[in-house]
């Protein structure tokens, strides 16, 4: 991957998404500078994954639109890649061939190089089925990065992994992002993960951006008191509504509380 790859300039302009009568997102306004790492947090069903799918071009906005480098996207932008929560490797292709899916000109050496970056060269000829969950997600990451994306969208990519693998993956993602300087948009329900990786953390609540905080910690980030400060700041903000609601008898509604 060339050092020169520059991130996309992402603009989400007054974007709304409805499914029938259900308003999932409203008036979302967000700008991502080239090379910026933005994390979107929020409770289950707040619309954060929908926002990511809109940016990916997998869904159409009901109002407003997504602009990448100044141009409104109609379908999937050729320089945008998505890392899904489930690795979604093709069972009929070997590990290396799966990575090659992401190489624009199909050059096998680029696939080999991408696989090397995630440390899985030795498993190149195996079937995805024999890999562990963390390894599969690394292959998916290699596949996403093999196309030199300018914008990488990460849809809770570490949600299904165990705690140790998750830390390893976070380090890997941060390292590759530092090297390649693509713009990154990470959707997660894990506030610590957001603080660990992102330049900015955005909270979405009931389809709206409720909170936008810059994480001013230097990298690589240590779990020290500054880190805890940001983590608490965001968590407290998420929990405010919770506390306000509970006495009024809405407790039953909030039992799927996952943060």
């Amino acid at each position: 991957m060339e050092q020169t790859t520059l991130g996309s300039h992402l603009q989400i302009k007054k974007t709304a998404k409805r499914y029938g009568d259900k308003q999932v997102l409203q008036e979302v306004e967000l700008e991502g500078k080239p090379g910026e790492f933005i994390a979107i947090v929020g409770r289950s069903g707040c619309g954060k994954s929908t926002l990511l799918r809109l940016v990916a071009g997998l869904e159409k906005a009901s109002e407003g639109g997504i602009h990448i480098d100044g141009e409104e996207i109609r379908f999937i932008h050729p320089d945008t890649r998505v890392l899904f929560q489930d690795a979604r490797l093709l069972p009929w292709k070997s590990v290396l061939e799966n990575v090659r899916v992401g190489v624009k000109d199909g050059d096998i050496r680029k696939a080999e190089k991408a696989l090397e970056q995630v440390g899985l060269s030795s498993r190149a000829s195996e079937w995805p089925g024999v890999l562990s969950g963390g390894q599969r997600q690394r292959v998916a990451l290699a596949r996403a990065l093999a196309g030199n994306p300018k914008l990488l969208l990460l849809d809770e990519p570490l949600g299904a992994l165990d705690a140790l693998t998750r830390i390893e993956m976070q380090q890997l993602i941060e390292q590759l992002w530092t090297e390649q300087r693509f713009t990154a948009l990470l959707v997660t329900h894990d506030v610590a993960e957001a603080v660990q990786l992102a330049d900015r953390v955005i909270l979405i609540e009931q389809g709206k951006i409720a909170f936008d905080v810059k994480i001013t910690l230097s990298r690589p980030r240590e779990h020290n008191s500054d880190f805890a400060y940001f983590e608490k700041l965001i968590l407290d903000r998420i929990l405010i509504k919770e506390k306000a609601k509970s006495p009024s008898g809405n407790i039953g509604k909030n039992d799927n509380y996952t943060i």
């Binding site: 292709k93 190149a124 079937w127």
Partner: protein
């Protein structure tokens, strides 16, 4: 590895019950428990078989039946591929054609025979068409269902990586659909064997199905049983060929089960 896990043991086990049944059969007919004009002894069936084989008659019957099944299978498969792909990928064609095909599917095989004989004559064309119809439906239905139910999540992977049109079909839809197609081809083949009997019983002067009706009209159960056994053997053999072909087409599944690695 335990002996009971070995392939030879598993194959041998599959032969056990048929051999016991054959033994009981031979015993019953030789000792007179069963009337020999209804259940002829195995030895007589073997005699009939070798006689028919020696005269070259059997080879002729067998050959024409195999030819019909094969030709009908290829024709039915070809049409099913075209319509399955068309109706699977393009909703317009699915809404246009699928309801009619689903209705035609409910016509029993035998019901086609008079019409086909009227339209296509009593020779090969009508028989092969009938078999092709039998093969067509399972292949078509499996392929259609396979295409429609391809995991959308994998197709999204294709989109995200810039795959469109033919490249999307080749790299994503086709391999994802192949397991259902192979399953459909297997049931299609067994339908082919069913329909060849229908075709040959209704009107033929050659073929295993004809041999069977000939045995019935001339009161020779040994001939009926010879053809029954041949149907069983060749039905099974062709099915094995199909399974083998399927495992070649679905190599990634086979390799996964046996734990082999793909040679890079």
């Amino acid at each position: 590895m335990k002996f009971t896990d070995s392939r030879i043991f598993q194959i041998a086990l599959g032969f056990l019950v048929p051999i016991l049944l054959l033994g009981a059969w031979q015993y019953a007919s030789v000792t007179g428990y069963a009337a020999p004009n209804l259940l002829p002894p195995l030895t007589r069936i073997y005699g009939t078989f070798t006689d028919l084989l020696a005269s070259g008659e059997l080879g002729e019957h067998l050959w024409i039946t195999l030819y019909r099944v094969f030709a009908g299978f290829v024709a039915g498969l070809a049409v099913a591929l075209v319509l399955g792909i068309l109706n699977g990928y393009f909703r317009f064609f699915r809404y246009l054609l699928d309801p009619m095909l689903q209705a035609l599917r409910n016509i029993p095989s035998m019901a086609w025979v008079p019409l086909f004989i009227l339209w296509l004559g009593i020779y090969e064309t009508s028989k092969i068409t009938l078999i092709a119809i039998g093969v067509f439906f399972p292949v078509y239905l499996n392929l259609l269902t396979g295409i429609i139910s391809v995991d959308r999540k994998l197709i999204e992977v294709g989109w995200v990586h810039g795959y469109r049109g033919f490249r999307l079909i080749w790299h994503f839809f086709l391999p994802a659909t192949l397991p259902s197609l192979v399953g459909g081809m297997r049931s299609g083949l067994s339908m082919g064997w069913m329909f060849v009997v229908a075709a040959e019983i209704m009107g033929a002067s050659k073929g295993l199905g004809f041999l069977m009706t000939d045995g019935q009209t001339t009161g020779r159960p040994a001939i009926i049983m010879t053809s029954l056994i041949l149907f069983a053997i060749f039905g099974k053999l062709t099915d094995m060929v199909m399974v083998w072909l399927g495992s070649k087409l679905l190599y990634w599944q086979t390799d996964l089960v046996t734990g082999k690695q793909q040679s890079a």
